[in-house]
């Protein structure tokens, strides 16, 4: 019988029989932890394996610092130092405070490649579906075990198919497509399932667009969402990979538990109102309310690529953001920041009176940039707007285009009007 993408990846990483609902041992190509959970992972390793080898394979184990970088208080600083000390003792790689968001680093630096299996302490690690790899966030005990054993156990999820009809028309971008899918599925639509995305609009997504869509499968309730890699993705990974890899594609006769069609032919820019990512409406429907925007945040693992920030650069050339609005821009990784510097974009962003910071998760993980105060309205390209997540303000989730349009006018504005 035919297999879906996740079934193929699992079959290549397990000796067990792969069937939805079955619990299997899964070999892990990468085991990672961030600055937040990392210290707890190490505490578990030290507690349970005091006098023995703690890591199955050092080359496959990495730490990435991204939640609060550089550390802004003593607690974070101490956790980070625990990780540095452990990593030096064991001889494993740390991507320290200058590198950026861990999940992106794992792809950019060639650890995660199409078809790979990756675990870490980051609940959005399923973003790896953007290149057709399996990623999963887990608790610190599970990750400690994964680092020690080189494998973990996992229940094979059933796969559903999400088929996109129609194509993206500017100013709509990958984020609008993603919000359209969340609007249809709601936060429970993919509960306990793997998703495979299909359709012309999906095939045409760039690397950055694929990241945007895959990163919000968590908000659809899904285990992971796969976007079958195209030539561009495969050669991107080939240029960085540490070894050979095999991308996996679903068989013709693979079995899906469900098929959902999302038609985007009439799509207009969308926005998720506080405090739920599936509270999605058209941006245009909010315009007459003239909702004042105190802060506009552009970044996160969802929309922190060069292409996302370039949207703002192009829209802000020669102008400034609104007088009473602060625009905060956080590149996902140091390489994204590097491209902004090389291409002269920082000059434009400086003249437009925006704040540009070092890479990382920023406000999404209670970091320096992007926290809100009571009553503060923030438009954000992030992936979650739960109450209290980015401080005590109100966060609206939308595309880089809508964030920038709103920063320019000072109230929630559709990019259709700029």
């Amino acid at each position: 019988m035919g297999q879906t993408i996740i079934e193929k990846i699992f079959a290549a990483h397990s000796k067990d029989d792969i069937k939805p609902g079955k619990i299997i041992w899964l070999d892990l190509d990468v085991r990672s932890a961030r600055d937040f959970g990392g210290a707890n992972v190490i505490a578990n390793l030290r507690k349970y394996y005091p006098n023995e080898e703690k890591l199955e394979n050092k080359a496959k184990t990495v730490f990435t610092f991204d939640t609060v970088v550089p550390a802004k208080n003593v607690g974070y600083a101490e956790n980070q130092q625990i990780i540095r000390d452990f990593a030096r003792e064991e001889g494993i790689r740390v991507f320290d405070s200058e590198w950026g968001i861990g999940s992106h680093i794992l792809i950019e630096e060639g650890y995660c490649v199409p078809g790979a299996t990756v675990v870490g302490t980051d609940s959005h690690l399923n973003i790896m579906g953007c290149i057709g790899a399996f990623g999963q966030g887990m608790g610190d005990q599970d990750i400690a075990f994964g680092m020690k054993a080189g494998k973990t156990w996992f229940e094979v999820p059933p796969t559903m198919k999400v088929i996109i009809e129609g194509e993206l028309q500017p100013p709509c971008s990958a984020k609008d497509l993603t919000l359209a899918i969340i609007r249809k599925l709601t936060s429970k639509g993919a509960l306990g399932k793997a998703i495979e995305f299909e359709g012309k609009a999906i095939e045409k997504l760039s690397f950055a667009g694929r990241i945007t869509l895959a990163s919000m499968v968590t908000e659809m309730g899904g285990i992971i969402g796969f976007i079958p890699p195209n030539e561009e993705i495969i050669s991107y990974s080939k240029a960085r990979a540490k070894s050979d890899f095999t991308p996996y594609f679903a068989d013709e006769d693979a079995k899906y538990v469900e098929e959902v069609v999302v038609d985007i032919s009439d799509l207009r820019p969308l926005i998720a109102k506080p405090y739920k990512p599936d509270n999605v409406v058209e941006v245009a429907s909010l315009e007459k309310e003239k909702i004042h925007v105190d802060s506009a945040f552009l970044g996160s693992c969802t929309n922190g690529r060069y292409e996302d920030i370039k949207v703002a650069v192009d829209m802000l050339k020669g102008i400034e953001v609104a007088k009473d609005t602060v625009m905060k821009i956080v590149p996902a990784t140091r390489r994204v920041l590097g491209d902004l510097i090389k291409n002269g974009d920082l000059q434009v962003l400086f003249e437009a009176r925006t704040v540009v910071s070092n890479p990382g998760c920023a406000g999404c993980a209670s970091g320096q940039i992007g926290m809100t105060g009571k009553g503060e309205v923030q438009v954000s390209t992030g992936n979650r707007n739960f109450k209290g997540k980015q401080g005590s303000g109100m966060t609206y989730l939308c595309s880089p285009e809508t964030v920038t349009a709103s920063a320019i006018t000072g109230y929630i504005t559709s990019p259709e009007n700029i």
């Binding site: 067990d16 079955k22 619990i23 578990n44 394996y49 608790g139 075990f145 054993a149 229940e155």
Partner: protein
């Protein structure tokens, strides 16, 4: 020492006062957050289900070796490990539920508490509290000696068996 594959014990069926299965029992009903400061497993048992309507005296009535029969989505909610440990504390041998919450399932397996997924709680005439059961974890066969009936369900996977036999997840890693 190898753990037994065949478990013998008394069934305790968690139904409401109308005899319906209680679905969606969350971790707060199993082990309320007001007891989260408790660190010793031995002390956790006494608070089991003390926030579950109709079952607040469960800890007093439970016997070592009991086998719980449960409804759907058991252990929904938080990732609280204590909601698993409290059963280990009481010496409960096995949980059999229609289905488990995803995180709960991870925690139970990692802690070496055997669980079976089986849809038997609705069979009111075939399984009641107090019945003597013999359960084979490998084959999934549940024999009710009292009612002279056998349920055929799916056994534990190799993964669960490996971890159960080792004691818990961390012990299992030492055997590799």
């Amino acid at each position: 020492m190898a753990k037994p594959i065949e478990l013998k014990g008394r069934a305790v069926v968690i139904r409401d006062k109308d005899g319906k299965p209680i679905d969606d029992i969350d971790t707060d009903m199993i082990f309320h957050n007001k007891y989260l400061h408790i660190k010793k497993i031995e002390e956790m048992g006494q608070y089991t289900f003390d926030n579950l309507e109709g079952w607040k005296d469960f800890a007093k009535k439970a016997q070592k070796g009991d086998i719980l029969i449960l409804g759907a989505n058991f252990g929904a909610g938080s990732s609280r490990q204590q909601a698993v440990d409290c059963f280990i504390s009481l010496g409960i041998q096995l949980l059999i539920a229609k289905s488990f919450g995803a995180i709960y399932k991870r925690n139970a397996i990692n802690a070496g508490l055997p669980i079976l997924q089986a849809d038997i709680i609705d069979e009111k005439k075939l399984i009641e509290t107090g019945d003597e059961l013999v359960v084979n974890l490998q084959t999934g066969e549940i024999k009710n000696l009292t009612k002279n009936h056998t349920f055929k369900t799916e056994g534990m996977s190799q993964v669960q068996m490996d971890i159960y036999q080792a004691g818990n997840l961390f012990e299992y890693a030492k055997t590799l």
